[in-house]
């Protein structure tokens, strides 16, 4: 990975924080691919599904994006979160690994595509209260917008936003802990 990616990703996240949703989607897609490459290279034996760690990292990046300083580089921040979540995933499965602390520079990984399987995130989603679960799955799995979800469920857009926000925060919190 190069300085150009760093500059581009910082720009996207700054724009996202300023309210640009397309920049945010773009940012998240790129970060997902990078983190996937990073995690797959770190998980050499089975036991931990890389995609679970990718999703947990994305959730953490989302709910903790106020911890990024806009004048700081974004990739060290992303990889620090990914490494933390990876170690956490191993620890939950009773394994001990060493993820070298000084390796960040070399681990700027190649982007990789997703593989499909049963996910930890589904268990976390199933544990949500029904109102939050229906909002989160309407927007994610069914791909509806906030407005469409509001019409479909017969609630206000504000209520949709609140349920979505709380639902995502709850998923991030209970990810892999049940």
């Amino acid at each position: 990975m190069t300085g150009k990616d760093e500059a581009e990703l910082s720009r996207l996240l700054r724009a996202a924080i300023a309210g640009d949703e397309r920049a945010y989607a773009d940012f998240l897609h790129r970060i997902a691919a990078l983190v996937r490459g990073f995690v797959r290279r770190k998980i050499v034996q089975g036991g931990v599904d890389p995609e679970d760690v990718v999703q947990e990292t994305l959730l953490a990046i989302h709910v903790k994006r106020h911890t990024w300083r806009e004048d700081a580089p974004v990739l060290p921040w992303v990889y620090a979160i990914a490494r933390f979540k990876l170690i956490d995933a191993f620890r939950r499965r009773g394994r001990r690994i060493e993820v070298e602390l000084d390796e960040i520079a070399e681990t700027f990984a190649e982007p990789e595509a997703e593989t499909v399987s049963e996910r930890d995130i589904n268990r976390a989603l199933d544990g949500l209260p029904p109102s939050q679960r229906s909002v989160v799955s309407s927007i994610s799995v069914d791909g509806h917008s906030i407005g469409e979800t509001a019409v479909k469920l017969g609630i206000s857009e504000t209520a949709v936003r609140v349920s979505l926000h709380r639902g995502l925060a709850a998923i991030a919190k209970r990810f892999g802990r049940q």
Binding site: Y24, H62, T67, W77, F84, I139
Partner: protein
């Protein structure tokens, strides 16, 4: 749920914003100072001769130590609560307060006759010192641990310990205005024990309370 689908949900939640962590830390310190001040003035308060005491080196030196600890711990805890932030320089600054105390102790040992060392070390206030520094610091510590939850410390136990040092430095600054024992020998011993207690408590809090 595919990662693609998750990104749709995160994107739809993009407008929901939280206060930047750096700003939140300043607010938290403001609240913590207010809490510590309230407990301090409601309980022991400053010593009655504080005005003349302010003209003595030993009295004022206590604030140099405690403020050095508070400032360096504040810088370090902010770095530790932001993933990927450089913390090496802030860690080095943590040596400032112990170094200043060390120098003051050596000077004190030169200036004060050996027969007086014991009396100065034991002082007259050590039980009050060891109970009131933790008492004043416990509220701020809770606030700082809450801030660590709001942040994203990748080393929660270390960050919790630094939260204890920060709370300890803050509490010791207030307590120093009450205490009659101004000798560096007293400060180096009893303040350190009291702050170490808060540090251990903070590390425990980091281990069990700071999850994200």
């Amino acid at each position: 749920m595919r990662t693609e689908d998750l990104i749709k949900a995160l994107d739809a939640d993009a407008r929901n914003k939280a206060m930047p962590l750096g700003l939140a830390w300043w607010l938290a310190v403001g609240v913590a100072v207010a809490v510590a001040a309230m407990i301090f003035f409601m309980t022991i308060g400053p010593r009655p001769d504080i005005m003349p005491a302010m003209h003595t080196m030993r009295f004022m030196s206590k604030f140099v130590f405690t403020l050095a600890l508070t400032a360096s711990a504040f810088a370090l805890i902010r770095a530790l609560s932001m993933p990927g932030a450089a913390s090496r320089r802030a860690k080095l600054w943590m040596l400032a307060a112990p170094a200043l105390v060390g120098i003051a102790v050596i000077l004190e040992l030169f200036v004060v006759p050996e027969a007086d060392w014991g009396r100065r070390l034991v002082g007259s206030n050590m039980m009050i010192c060891m109970s009131f520094i933790p008492l004043i610091g416990i509220g701020p510590l809770a606030i700082f641990l809450g801030m660590l939850r709001y942040g994203a410390p990748t080393r929660p136990v270390l960050a919790g310990a630094v939260a204890g040092l920060l709370a300890g430095g803050l509490a010791a600054t207030f307590y120093a205005a009450h205490c009659f024992d101004d000798s560096p020998l007293f400060v180096a011993t009893w303040y350190t024990i009291a702050i170490a207690f808060l540090t251990a408590l903070g590390a425990l809090g980091g281990r069990f309370f700071v999850r994200w």
